[in-house]
């Protein structure tokens, strides 16, 4: 049957500019590269005495967090403030808006306050898409993580980190290790790496933590960590949540670490210049040994720094995409008269 159109019209303006940032999937390579290029120009803003640029001056950014996350929310807040926006943080316990109606009511209220951008974190996959469909077109929506679906700004800061250390993506072999099943970060990384032209994306983990038909996303699957790490240029370890042990997905943290934990011994399989990444916060001795997390190949702390710049890039691009769209709409309107 006729499927829904792809997410592109929701994310891109008629002339291909970013208007919402909901998912990496469906975006062209040029837009991803533009995000990375713009982020590069924002990286040194953090080193200035006055850490601000006026791109979002007079705009109101609302952080709508339906799921608690101090870390991600803080980087979005900092990014918005460095762009000179006014920031409103709303942490909503999930129960307060468990009904769709009240979610819609809340959006209407926020729109009425002339908000310009919603940064949305939600436990349901697809929540930012839903909000983007139902919000007024004047508001830009940025996905700050939805269910298991996507965490596109995290993936883009990872791409920034990779490009920073590796110069580009051509010929790169990247391994993602651990709980792929529950990971929105992994899904977004896989899309981004494939769009940006990485040579091979591997996922490594026990079958309980790999989603069905994961190969269809364009990855090769490895059960064995040492084999999966062979000759890779980038190693990404994912955080393992403690509750995975309660649902028979894994027997214990120690067995996971024994089989899939990153240590120096295992990393010898990887390319000598391989970098080690992790979206954080890390569980030492579970998915990664301290010797690796703190070792010279680890770029984990740099990822955090780049995170602010990448979010500044995405926010400013969405805002200018919106404004261009509204100008052209206004123009059409004037012409029609």
């Amino acid at each position: 049957m006729t499927a829904e159109p792809s997410t592109d019209p929701l994310q891109l303006t008629g002339d291909g500019q970013l208007r919402n940032f909901l998912s990496i999937e469906g975006l062209p390579r040029s837009v991803l590269e533009q995000i990375l290029d713009n982020a590069a120009s924002f990286v040194d803003v953090g080193d200035r005495a006055i850490k601000k640029v006026p791109l979002l001056r007079g705009k109101t950014v609302v952080n709508l967090f339906f799921e608690a996350s101090t870390r991600t929310r803080t980087t979005f807040e900092l990014a918005a403030k460095r762009l000179s926006a006014d920031v409103l943080n709303i942490d909503i316990a999930r129960s307060a808006t468990s009904k769709g109606e009240s979610l819609m009511d809340m959006l209407r209220n926020l729109e009425a306050m002339a908000s310009d951008m919603f940064v949305v974190r939600h436990a349901d996959s697809g929540a930012p898409h839903y909000i983007a469909r139902h919000a007024t077109p004047e508001v830009a929506i940025i996905n700050a993580g939805d269910g298991r679906h996507a965490h596109p700004t995290q993936a883009m800061l990872d791409m920034y980190t990779i490009r920073h250390y590796k110069g580009g993506f051509a010929g790169l072999k990247v391994a993602i290790i651990g709980d792929i099943l529950h990971s929105r970060v992994a899904r977004s990384q896989i899309h981004a790496l494939n769009i940006l032209g990485a040579e091979e994306v591997r996922v490594i983990g026990p079958r309980t933590l790999l989603p069905a038909d994961i190969e269809s996303l364009g990855v090769s699957v490895y059960d064995d960590l040492s084999q999966g790490l062979r000759d890779v240029d980038v190693v990404i370890a994912l955080r393992l949540q403690k509750e995975r042990m309660d649902s028979a997905l894994l027997p214990s943290e120690s067995e996971f670490f024994r089989l899939y934990g990153l240590n120096n011994e295992r990393l010898r399989q990887a390319h000598p210049d391989a970098i080690i990444m992790h979206p954080g916060p890390i569980n030492r001795g579970v998915e990664i040994a301290s010797e690796v997390a703190d070792g010279e190949r680890s770029v984990i702390l740099h990822q955090v720094t780049f995170g602010i710049a990448v979010r500044m890039a995405v926010m400013s691009m969405c805002m200018s995409g919106r404004e261009a769209e509204q100008r052209s709409r206004g123009g059409d309107h004037a012409a029609a008269r």
Binding site: M1, A3, E4, P5, S6, T7, E25, S98, K99, G100, E101, L103, M104, H122, D124, S125, G126, A127, H129, Y130, D146, G147, R148, H149, A150, R184, R187, P211, A212, D213, I214, S216, L217
Partner: protein, 427 residues
């Protein structure tokens, strides 16, 4: 209440899958009874209906309808939903027992029958709860409920976990030759899921429901059906492996039948792309290969019937991010049109398609309906197969949760007669 009809329907293409009749003929209804089908009939007192180019079919029989009453008044009423059924050519519908309160007492059965009678649009055939409160622990009073008018028993979507209790329930139902209707789905394997476990759910990050959640439960049920000798019907098969299990069971001579929802024949997992919650249903839409296998099952008769799997939902049920929306499609308004759509696409032969919504479902439920039989109260519908409609424009169910609202579909219903009374007449 409508009086019994006196009608002379002239020159319709009369298609009665049960008897194999397919010819242009006249059909005479006198005092509600289907008196004769034949050439050039005459009846001075009867109202004439010119039916050139129209098809005259038995009234449709729908095996799987969730009624909003008792319990959920915000999403319509017996009146609104049976009226939608009549407008869709449906004369007989089987109501699932998962109402609120559930159909486990004669009071609830009586309430449903009285309200249905008062509305007067369709014959509502309630299914009794297999266990009290659908809790899967104590038997419901099956014989009493049968005497009150229940035609079958079912635990609806509430799986009886305890195999011993299930076995005893089946034995008890078999005592009264009551058909048991299963909706196979293992609770643990489907827990938390909202989409078929496959590439689309993986990409969208939606928690999956694997096909094996259905087949594990179906296999258990088939083994217990074999052991107890009960008559069994399976609702809403969704995957290829289920069709294979059923085919095997039938080949072994088991007394089992099955239906599939029309939506599972027309849609697959790709329909939820873009988080389209109108296609969030349970069991979930599965792969293309599953859809093809279900279709093949209908064609070769392994899957007997096609149902609307009608679940009318209120406006807010789909107003949420996909995983938080309620599953279900409001299906009465479009059952006939969608079956005709399958025929027009050459995916299903006409005779089998019409059989699957008339005689076959009646057979599955052991009720006398779904056929054009001289001498009996007439239940029939007269349709224009060549006309097209936009469902949104003539929608009657209180639930507007349908992915088909704005899609042009074939087939309009001109006239529906249910047990001798006109229940729908389009202008």
């Amino acid at each position: 209440m409508q009086p019994r009809a006196d009608l002379l329907i002239r020159k319709a293409r009369v298609i009665d899958p049960a008897s194999g009749r397919d010819e242009v003929a006249d059909l005479l209804v006198e005092d509600g009874r289907l008196l004769r089908i034949g050439a050039s009939l005459d009846a001075p007192g009867a109202e004439l209906v010119a039916a050139d180019g129209l098809w005259l079919l038995p009234g449709l029989v729908d095996t799987c309808v969730r009624l909003p009453e008792p319990g959920n008044h915000r999403t319509g009423s017996l009146h609104s939903e049976t009226r939608a059924a009549a407008a869709g050519g449906i004369t007989h519908l089987c109501a699932t027992p998962d109402t609120d309160p559930v159909i486990d007492s004669t009071a609830v059965v009586r309430l449903i029958r009285e309200r249905a009678m008062k509305a007067g649009f369709a014959r509502v055939m309630p299914m009794a709860a297999l266990t009290q409160g659908l809790q899967g622990q104590q038997l419901a009073e099956l014989a009493t409920l049968r005497d009150a008018g229940c035609i079958a028993v079912s635990n609806a979507g509430h799986r009886v976990q305890d195999a011993l209790i299930l076995k005893r329930s089946l034995e008890y139902a078999a005592t009264f030759d009551l058909p048991v209707v299963f909706r196979p789905q293992d609770a643990a394997l489907s827990s938390g899921g909202c989409a078929h476990e496959g590439p689309v759910a993986t990409r969208l990050g939606l928690p999956g429901i694997p096909s094996v959640a259905e087949t594990v439960d179906l296999a258990r049920a088939l083994l217990l059906v074999e052991a107890t000798g009960v008559r069994a019907h399976f609702h809403q098969l969704s995957c290829a492996a289920s069709v294979a299990l059923l085919r095997h069971a039938k080949a072994q001579g088991l007394n089992v039948t099955a239906d599939v929802s029309i939506h599972h024949l027309l849609l697959d997992e790709s329909a939820i792309e873009g988080f389209n919650s109108l296609c969030h249903i349970s069991p979930p839409l599965r792969s293309r290969a599953d859809r093809d296998a279900l279709m093949q099952g209908v064609i070769d008769g392994t899957v007997d019937a096609i149902s609307s799997q009608h679940i009318p939902l209120g406006g807010s049920a789909k107003l949420a991010p996909f995983p938080s929306t309620r599953p279900g499609i409001s299906g009465l308004d479009t059952l006939l049109s969608l079956v005709l759509e399958l025929v027009q696409r050459d995916q299903l032969p006409l005779r089998r398609a019409l059989d699957a919504i008339t005689a076959a479902p009646a057979r599955c439920l052991g009720v006398s309906a779904g056929r054009l039989e001289e001498g009996r109260l007439a239940s029939l519908c007269l349709i224009d197969p060549n006309a097209t409609r936009l469902p949104a424009e003539d929608w009657l169910s209180a639930g507007r949760n349908s992915p088909w609202l704005d899609i042009e579909l074939p087939g309009t219903v001109r006239l529906t007669v249910c047990e001798g009374k006109v229940t729908w007449l389009s202008d």
